[in-house]
């Protein structure tokens, strides 16, 4: 093992870190003002460099060798990890472009650097199969996201949202850490691949089971499963819009992949069973209960929300519940269904938050009332939002439909004689409820009149002021959601092939 080898395999992460420093320097050198906006040229240059760095990192990942393992799994290069590192980089790329539109943020360079650092954390989370590195990735991601959430100093709610996110997040990571210490203590190793066999060969001491549950708490917090979801509505509503989008997309994808790896590789021997008639103690029944709780709480509370970002947050809780179904079903099929669903969900939510960002800039708010008559002001944004929301509701032919179909059918086939039927039925009931609140948003967008402005002038204003590039991004995202719904096979085949 030479350092040259290390540098070659860790090149994508290194490139993103270097880009973060360059962007930070650009922000510092060119005009950092006490009040007001970052100069347009600086923001543009910073965003360009950030986007370029992310693209180069993605290109480097593609050129990595197929399989490699460094330091007992601290850094693992495998087709699965590479695929999802590229997906996270793409999500970060979209976030950088959408952040360009946020004119009100001061110190844009620092904001972009934080996005890049969070991305490095996500890449480490995905690319590691060792407890220490997973913890560090978790913290790097978390700390960057807390800062990004509290970044908007002009807003009353941003710092509050950041504080709540920080307090809940640190508590969850303290739980995870304590759980990890117990797991390390009873198995004597920190490598996921070695933990599995050790768990299989001994009867489970109670403290070790406590350790497993405490470890799970931290990750369930990250994916906002009920009852660990309390931070999500506040963070989604108070944070800058692009941050909320990144928390909902990139952070969630990485958390699901690392949660799946920990559960299926590390804790595989103590999975248990959540079948209706054949309950066996383990982590599966716990996840099943939390999944059911998330689906119920998320969908029911979303019904009464008046703020679109809060509505998306509660629906995110419900979607977290659906996505857990795949992990509960277990095995290669279940894991790939989970990964497919979370990827589609991430793409959809980045787009939905992009639209929210436009509306917020125009109307100064993101309550339902601010979306009234969006169709008249900008048919393009209204159309994109319709695609995103209908995909979230799971209507064919959009990507969300196929994702749900794949997920639910896998869960149904998993247990002996349809043991998971109760959970699948609950999930179907949940999606039915969700259709109602997504349609309410669409009704406001398409049918309600905007009381204030005359449409012709307002529309001209809106179209002119909105940036060209973020708009194109939204179109691309909407196109991706449509395309993945019509030909889902390409992505599914890629995920399945990457398990190798």
């Amino acid at each position: 093992m030479s350092y040259l080898e290390l540098l070659r395999l860790a090149a994508p992460e290194a490139i993103v870190v270097l880009t973060a420093f360059v962007v930070l320097t650009i922000g510092l050198v060119t005009g950092r003002r006490e009040a007001g906006d970052t100069p347009a040229a600086t923001a543009g240059l910073g965003a360009l460099v950030a986007a370029l760095g992310l693209a180069i990192a993605a290109a480097t990942i593609v050129r990595l060798p197929g399989h490699a393992t460094l330091f007992h799994g601290m850094l693992v290069v495998s087709p699965l990890n590479s695929l999802f590192q590229v997906i996270v980089l793409v999500l970060a790329f979209f976030t950088v472009i959408l952040a360009r539109g946020e004119r009100l943020l001061p110190n844009k360079g620092e904001y972009l650097a934080m996005i890049l650092l969070a991305t490095v954390g996500l890449m480490l989370l995905i690319g590691s199969e060792e407890l220490l590195m997973i913890f560090i990735g978790l913290e790097l991601t978390g700390l960057s996201l807390y800062v990004m959430t509290a970044f908007d100093k002009a807003s009353q709610t941003s710092a509050e949202a950041g504080l709540k996110y920080f307090l809940f997040g640190s508590m969850a990571s303290a739980f995870t850490l304590f759980g990890l210490s117990l797991i390390y203590g009873f198995t004597g190793t920190t490598s996921l691949a070695a933990i599995g066999p050790r768990l299989a060969e001994q009867a489970l001491p109670p403290l070790l089971f406590v350790g497993i549950v405490m470890t799970l708490i931290g990750f369930l917090f990250k994916i906002a499963a009920a009852p660990f979801h309390l931070w999500a509505p506040d963070a989604y509503q108070g944070a800058p819009v692009s941050t909320a989008g990144f928390i909902a997309s990139g952070s969630k994808v990485a958390s699901f992949i690392v949660l799946g790896k920990i559960l299926l590789i590390g804790f595989g021997p103590v999975s248990g069973s959540a079948d209706w008639h054949g309950l066996i103690a383990g982590w599966t029944p716990i996840l099943a209960v939390l999944s059911a709780l998330s689906i119920l709480i998320g969908n029911l509370v979303a019904l009464v929300q008046k703020n679109v970002r809060r509505l998306l947050a509660y629906s995110a809780v419900a979607h977290g519940g659906y996505t857990l179904l795949g992990l509960i079903a277990g095995g290669r099929a279940g894991f790939s269904a989970t990964l497919f669903y979370t990827t589609i969900y991430a793409v959809t939510l980045v787009g939905a938050f992009g639209v929210v960002g436009f509306v917020r800039r125009e109307n100064g708010g993101d309550d339902l009332a601010d979306f009234a008559g969006l169709r008249a002001r900008s048919p393009l944004l209204a159309g994109c939002m319709a695609i995103f929301l209908l995909s979230l509701a799971g209507l064919p032919p959009l990507a969300g439909f196929f994702g749900k179909f794949y997920l639910f059918s896998t869960a149904l086939r998993a247990g002996a004689n349809h043991g998971l039927l109760w959970l699948v039925a609950l999930a179907l009931f949940g999606s039915l409820i969700s259709l109602y609140y997504y349609l309410i948003v669409l009704k406001v967008i398409f049918l309600d009149e905007n009381a204030q402005a005359t449409p012709a002038v307002a529309r001209y204003d809106f179209e002119m002021r909105a940036d060209y590039l973020p708009k194109m991004t939204l179109l691309v995202l909407a196109g991706a959601v449509l395309l993945l719904g019509i030909i889902p096979g390409t992505l599914v085949a890629r995920i399945l092939a990457s398990f190798g």
């Binding site: 407890l131 220490l132 913890f135 560090i136 913290e139 700390l143 807390y146 800062v147 509290a150 100093k153 009353q156 709610t157 710092a159 509050e160 949202a161 950041g162 504080l163 709540k164 920080f166 307090l167 640190s170 508590m171 303290a174 739980f175 850490l177 304590f178 990890l180 210490s181 117990l182 390390y184 203590g185 004597g188 190793t189 920190t190 403290l207 509505p233 506040d234 509503q237 108070g238």
Partner: protein
């Protein structure tokens, strides 16, 4: 003779105290200190495990001690970020009490 169980008991006690502090206290700075206590409880149990899980030559399992060094560093970073957020909040609201931080709800 102090056994592994004793260390784990103290570590569990520290963790519980920290958790209780986070749940019950109303001042942000004290909540913050309680969070650090929870991290240090994990440190203690890691070091204890490292000392008592010896290999065949009687050497401690050093993985746990390395883990602790990283946690100390991460905790320092967490303090920096946390205090910065508290300062930002104080500038906006002039308060460090959790009851006053309630503009986002339900």
């Amino acid at each position: 003779m102090v056994t592994l169980g004793d260390y784990l008991f103290v570590s569990g006690l520290l963790f519980t105290l920290g958790f209780a502090g986070v749940l019950l206290r109303r001042n942000l700075i004290i909540i913050f200190m309680s969070l650090e206590l929870m991290l240090n409880a994990a440190n203690l149990s890691l070091v204890a495990f490292s000392r008592f899980r010896t290999n065949s030559l009687g050497q401690p399992n050093y993985d746990g001690q390395v883990f602790v060094f990283f946690i100390i560093t991460v905790a320092a970073a967490e303090v920096a970020v946390g205090l910065a957020i508290i300062v930002a909040l104080y500038r906006a609201r002039r308060t460090t009490h959790v009851e006053d931080i309630n503009s986002l709800k339900f």
